[in-house]
């Protein structure tokens, strides 16, 4: 049988061997904790604490600001020092609650949860909503909203996105190896929300150990299967993984639910499990600190809100001054200029590279080689779209489906002329998405 995958895609250097076989380290923060009120897609959360208040670990400090929103919880005990805008890893400024960590880690009293079997669907979704769980693969879409589609009966597949196609990242892998029960437990809860659904754990085949472990542990689960996917970027993209697992394809104006699918990331499932069985809010995630500029690359179990610099210091600091520091992986991550940024719900990694492949070579003329066309998982013609952007030809950009771009960057990666294809397309795409949203409002 051919391995499940999608047409297109690229094979960048994986870099996973740096951290793949090292156990996760649990690390306690020392300095101030920063909790941005926008760690998700949707309305920002509203702070419910004031400067000077003492907060406990697990205490609500900002409530959801709307239906599509998520609350934020303190992950240490201490005093609220300030509520002010702080810079995030994405480069944006965001209003944040700053808590001075007193080092005591005093916890709130956790709510007593009913056994999962006795909970109704609504109770489970409520628990997930209250816990502030969001898509932890990067998008940050509130999970409770995702798990409550209009027609739950039509959901046939809940896909655990364990592909981890982004180079260098191994946080999902370590979670599957060391705490597989959390992932499987989370998936079982998600599947139980839909009467006609079965679960698929989709893993790229460069992680045979994880595939073996998951297959073994789900052997008795009737509703859960493990699917090995071809190792290829962007295999973990939502539309790509749906296609690889089910053969169904969706476009930018559809939701996975329109194809009868719900897709959740590995860490998100672990958070779902904690929220429903233990009543614990989303407080920790796994962050990969990696790259050839790091002395001791490793995966950390991090209390969300902790400063990245502390993580880098614990990993031994830098071998040499890195040329590039990326929040996330090298394909989809954000380059940052300041290490003083907090980890957030969606922060999966910090990749520090001694070499900046982008600055090395100047873009040159396009030679029409069609490599971008061959790798584009969305079947676009990135070259044409980039040309349209350079000529500000919005009509052509829309006609050639520019809005369908998933911003995976495969075109820029492969381009032998080193054109900034994805960068050009992304800018115009944001404008067109804005226009589409404005038109929908009318």
């Amino acid at each position: 049988m051919p391995r499940a995958t999608f047409p297109g895609g690229v094979h960048p250097y994986e870099g996973k061997e740096l951290t793949m076989d090292k156990p996760m380290k649990t690390i306690l923060p020392k300095g101030d904790m920063v909790y941005p009120v926008s760690q998700h897609i949707g309305a920002p959360a509203k702070p419910v604490v004031a400067v000077g208040d003492r907060v406990l670990t697990g205490q609500l400090i900002a409530e959801a600001g709307g239906f599509v929103s998520a609350p934020v919880y303190a992950t240490v005990s201490g005093k609220v020092k300030a509520i002010e805008p702080r810079r995030l890893a994405t480069g944006a400024m965001c209003n944040s609650i700053i808590v001075e960590n007193d080092g005591l880690y005093e916890e709130v009293e956790w709510p007593r949860m009913k056994p999962v079997d006795e909970m109704t669907t609504e109770e489970k979704i409520e628990a997930i909503r209250n816990a502030g769980v969001v898509g932890m693969g990067g998008a940050g879409f509130p999970t409770a909203v995702k798990l409550a589609p209009k027609e739950p009966d039509k959901i046939e597949y809940v896909i655990a996105n364990c592909a981890e196609c982004e180079p260098y990242l191994t946080s999902d892998y370590r979670r599957m190896i060391e705490e597989p029960e959390l992932v499987i437990g989370g998936l079982k809860i998600a599947v139980s929300l839909f009467p006609n659904a079965q679960g698929i754990i989709a893993i790229e085949d460069n992680k045979p150990e994880a595939i073996r472990k998951m297959t073994e542990l789900t052997a008795d689960e009737e509703k859960i299967t493990v699917k090995a996917l071809q190792t290829k970027y962007p295999q973990g993209g939502e539309r790509m993984i749906i296609y690889a697992c089910t053969g169904r394809s969706i476009n930018s104006s559809m939701l996975p639910a329109d194809a009868g699918c719900i897709v959740d990331n590995t860490d998100t499932l672990a958070a779902i499990y904690r929220a429903v069985t233990e009543g614990k809010p989303l407080m920790e995630r796994i962050v990969t600190i990696t790259g050839d500029a790091i002395v001791d690359p490793c995966n950390y179990k991090v209390r969300i809100g902790m400063n990245y610099r502390e993580l880098i210091d614990d990993a031994g600091g830098f071998v040499t001054e890195p040329a590039k520091i990326i929040s996330g992986g090298p394909m989809m991550g954000f380059a940052i200029f300041d290490l003083d940024v907090p980890t957030t719900k969606t922060a999966s990694a910090m990749t520090c590279l001694t070499k900046d492949a982008v600055a090395e070579i100047e873009p040159s003329a396009c030679i029409n080689c069609a490599k971008c066309v061959e790798v584009c998982p969305e079947r676009l013609i990135p070259k044409d779209l980039a040309d349209a952007v350079e000529h500000n030809d919005e009509e052509r950009f829309v006609r050639q489906y520019g809005v369908e771009c998933i911003e995976c960057g495969s075109c820029s990666y492969i381009c032998p002329a080193r054109r900034q294809l994805a960068q050009l397309i992304k800018g115009m795409r944001k404008i067109q998405l804005g226009k589409r949203a404005a038109a929908a409002k009318k």
């Binding site: 590279l353 029409n368 079947r379």
Partner: protein, 327 residues
């Protein structure tokens, strides 16, 4: 804030393949055929190739210096053009011929239209066609050393016009044509050397079989339907003779002047196959690859325009709905 650490938008890594490396692979892949040409035709062929490459590189350099643009000869595309042009000249060419050809290829076809990536036709082929029209006597002189007769394809053409292809086929040694021991332009005679080069390009991921495959297949189908002779000897003589192999693998696949879309590549290949068939079977000359590819180049913008694929997940709009709206 003194160290902004090269902040840039994602992705932050790049593949190793660059334009220069692609050109390098093409040059390497052309070497077997060029080498065989030198072996077959002697030192004059070497001088023609060297003059052609030298002129192309020099012309690009001088042009960019004169118009004060960034010098881009380092991308090696001018070397590829020069090599291809030289391989498309007869070994008997006077030494000014590659120089005039190189000037036309680089200045007229390439640089005046905006340089690399902007030329609407293959510069080497553009120059070859220019030379064929302007200096037919020099371009059709293939008499050198042992080769005193006509090229295999013109022998076949004469036979076709005289109405006796079978006799002419008997006089042709197809084995010699496959190995390349026939008269012709410097780089086209050896099918084996060209196919070795093509394999190099395919293995290196520079080209694939979509264009050359559909070109050759559609050409064979055309011959089977409209050709004067359907024997396997005629087909293999047509395949191994003339510029078909060199054209299909090295010139039809030229990135700049071929379609970017996948279905467009098939359409383009089929168009080339049919045009080559028309030129070779119905035309006055035995050869037609260059003109077919040049014509195909001109159609590329139209082919690309009509072959833009629907994006992933975009369903074909139901026709019935459209008709209702129109009504």
């Amino acid at each position: 804030m003194d160290n902004l650490r090269n902040v840039s938008s994602n992705p932050h890594v790049r593949s190793r393949m660059t334009t220069q490396m692609i050109m390098m692979w093409v040059i390497i892949a052309l070497l077997p055929a060029a080498g065989f040409g030198i072996y077959n035709f002697g030192v004059n062929a070497l001088i023609v190739l060297a003059l052609s490459v030298g002129t192309c590189v020099l012309m690009e350099f001088l042009f960019e210096k004169i118009v004060k643009k960034k010098v881009t000869v380092g991308d090696l595309s001018a070397v590829v053009t020069g090599l291809l042009l030289g391989m498309n000249l007869p070994p008997t060419a006077p030494f000014w011929l590659p120089v005039v050809g190189g000037f036309f290829a680089i200045i007229i076809v390439k640089m005046l239209f905006g340089g690399l990536g902007q030329n609407f036709m293959n510069p080497a082929l553009g120059a070859r066609c220019f030379l064929l029209i302007s200096f037919p006597v020099y371009m059709n002189n293939f008499i050198i050393h042992a080769y005193t007769g006509a090229t295999p394809l013109s022998a076949l053409k004469e036979a076709q016009q005289a109405g006796d292809v079978t006799t002419a086929l008997r006089n042709l040694n197809v084995m010699d044509m496959i190995i390349g021991r026939t008269s012709g332009v410097i780089g086209e005679t050896s099918m084996i050397a060209i196919v070795i080069g093509a394999c190099i390009l395919i293995l290196a991921g520079i080209i694939d079989l979509r264009i050359p495959g559909s070109y050759i297949v559609s050409f064979v189908i055309f011959l089977l339907i409209f050709g004067p002779d359907r024997s396997s000897a005629y087909i293999s003589a047509q395949l191994s003779g003339g510029g078909l192999m060199l054209g299909a693998f090295f010139m039809a696949t030229d990135y700049v002047s071929s379609p970017i879309t996948s279905s467009g590549k098939y359409i383009y290949g089929c168009f080339l196959g049919i045009m080559t068939g028309i030129f070779r079977v119905l035309g006055a000359s035995g050869e037609g690859v260059s003109y077919a590819i040049i014509l195909g180049n001109l159609l590329v913008p139209i082919i690309e325009r009509f072959t833009i694929p629907r994006a992933f997940g975009i369903q074909k709009e139901p026709k019935a709905k459209k008709e209702v709206e129109e009504a």
